[in-house]
Symmetry: C2
Subunit: 321 residues, 2 copies
């Protein structure tokens, strides 16, 4: 951390803004998180200032009256190369608004902006599961799939700053329609949304503890409900995870064929399910990866920073040297 | 080129060994090719020494009595990280044989070995279509699909030296069986083999100049036949290219979503068809790439070194500093 920040008593806040929630927290230079604050994302059909309001509220609450040295934002969308705007976000309303400057004006401190998966990957490379790896992939499973390619601990940015959009690789020709406007995208088969869709479809066919959890209204089923049902051994929830996990492995095999990374780190909210997600994914990776018998298949591991990786990586935008 | 090589009158030979042919040639430090020699690949169900015999013959013929300073081999298969063995090759018989040492013993000079797509990519980065690009993808369409990721002019090697195996990314779940043992691999839909398979299937439904070219025996149709039929405006051949080109664009969009390269270079034998292949590919890339309206879509260009890129890159193994 910069000396002036460390000495001043000011705090650095990292914010992770995704399709369903805004998580803000005070993060120190070792990646430790103290106070956090959570808000619901107002949606993607609202005016953008409502999303910014939710972000400012969460930032202010987490700082708890301490002065802000700077704020880092991890956003679930395409961020332009200078880190000023969210150009396009399937689950958020921004379309090129100058988010960095808007927040800087409202907060009165330095604001830095990057893609959420890039932030999570930086955090895992510096403080988490990809620490010390020469090459890695970060796959973040939230509402959709985000991702990042790590080379020597750095995020590969690409010619437009848009590398790592793994969720929109087509895995099924003419498949499920995607919020991005295309169809058959990987995240339609392996994500929080896919998990819930799978569970709802299976509930129509067989009884499940989810029936009671959602009060008999399958449209109210959420990802965390499916995770806790799976923890209770519920078959519907387990099958929903098996499918999402299998597709996670298939898509990962495609990326491993292309990039041959040392480690694959799975983060994002859905990764909280741990081996219920990762075991089927490991099986599918080994089954579908070309030449699996003739190579070391990379470890597929859960992000150690969990759902906080994006937030911690956002703070790294401000504090990293 | 090393001073001792330049001064001695010795020659450096590059060899490209693929599923159908062995191409050897004398290559100078500027990437210029003088004499070449061609042999047919004996197949993948032969003893490996038969393939080595064909290689030694082609090398000897191209050198035409001049002493060998060194030989570089570009092989269509997984090469181990030290560059000693072809571990696994869907279209060739090697399975871990120490090819580099075997050829070194037979030729009495230094031999260096790498994957064919890596070699082609190095050649295009140094002397061809990717020259000066900060990032690029090389996609080589021959019997199958090979590939390489270029970053700052260097080939990304990966943890096992196996990065760039684009042809075996799954694009159709439960799709066409592949020589690699999996199914639905990209190269089953976009490659020389796929082109010929498409043409044969279409010949069963409609008349074509290919009927005459193959003497009424569709099993004798080859990729070059389909290319010349397409040049004559034959509808069957044009449709065969349209499908292979469309799939080339779909798979490229997946790689561009993941890596966001500045340029995509298409090489290999099939790329000799030029815009008959590349125009449908460009259309499909723009159609299926996520956020295409919000980014610069990378140029999709033909390799400028053509089918000689692998051979030139093989020679670079010996001559590059």
């Amino acid at each position: 951390m910069r000396e002036d920040v460390r000495m001043s008593g000011q705090v650095v806040v990292g914010v992770d803004i995704g399709g369903t929630k805004v998580l803000a927290g005070v993060v120190d230079a070792q990646g430790h998180v103290s106070s956090t604050a959570l808000r619901t994302t107002p949606g993607r059909r609202v005016v953008t200032s409502q999303v910014e309001d939710a972000m400012v509220e969460a930032i202010t609450e987490s700082a708890a009256g301490r002065p802000l040295a700077g704020v880092g934002i991890a956003a679930a969308g395409f961020v332009d190369p200078p880190g000023e705007r969210v150009m396009f976000a399937p689950h958020l309303p921004w379309q090129g608004e100058p988010l960095r400057d808007l927040l800087q004006a409202r907060l009165g401190c330095q604001v830095l902006l990057d893609n959420d998966a890039n932030c999570a990957a930086s955090a895992e490379a510096r403080h988490g599961a990809a620490r010390g790896a020469a090459s890695g992939l970060m796959i973040t499973m939230g509402t959709g799939i985000g991702g990042a390619v790590l080379l020597d601990g750095k995020v590969l940015r690409g010619a437009n700053g848009m590398a790592g959009e793994f969720g929109h690789m087509q895995v099924v020709p003419g498949g499920q329609a995607c919020e991005c406007g295309k169809s058959g995208c990987w995240e339609q088969y392996s994500s929080g949304n896919a998990l819930v869709r799978n569970a709802r479809a299976l509930m129509a066919e067989q009884p499940s503890v989810l029936d009671e959890m959602c009060g008999g209204r399958p449209e109210r089923v959420t990802g965390p409900m499916v995770t806790s049902a799976a923890e209770e051994g519920d078959l519907v929830a387990r099958q929903a995870f098996a499918s999402v996990g299998d597709w996670l492995g298939v898509g990962t095999a495609n990326l491993v064929a292309a990039l041959d990374p040392q480690v694959v780190v799975i983060g994002g909210g859905v990764s909280a399910a741990g081996d219920k997600l990762l075991d089927p994914a490991r099986g599918a990776l080994r089954r579908t990866l070309v030449g699996a018998a003739h190579r070391r298949v990379p470890d597929l591991v859960a992000a150690t920073l969990g759902p906080r990786a994006g937030m911690i990586g956002a703070a790294l935008l401000v504090t990293a040297d």
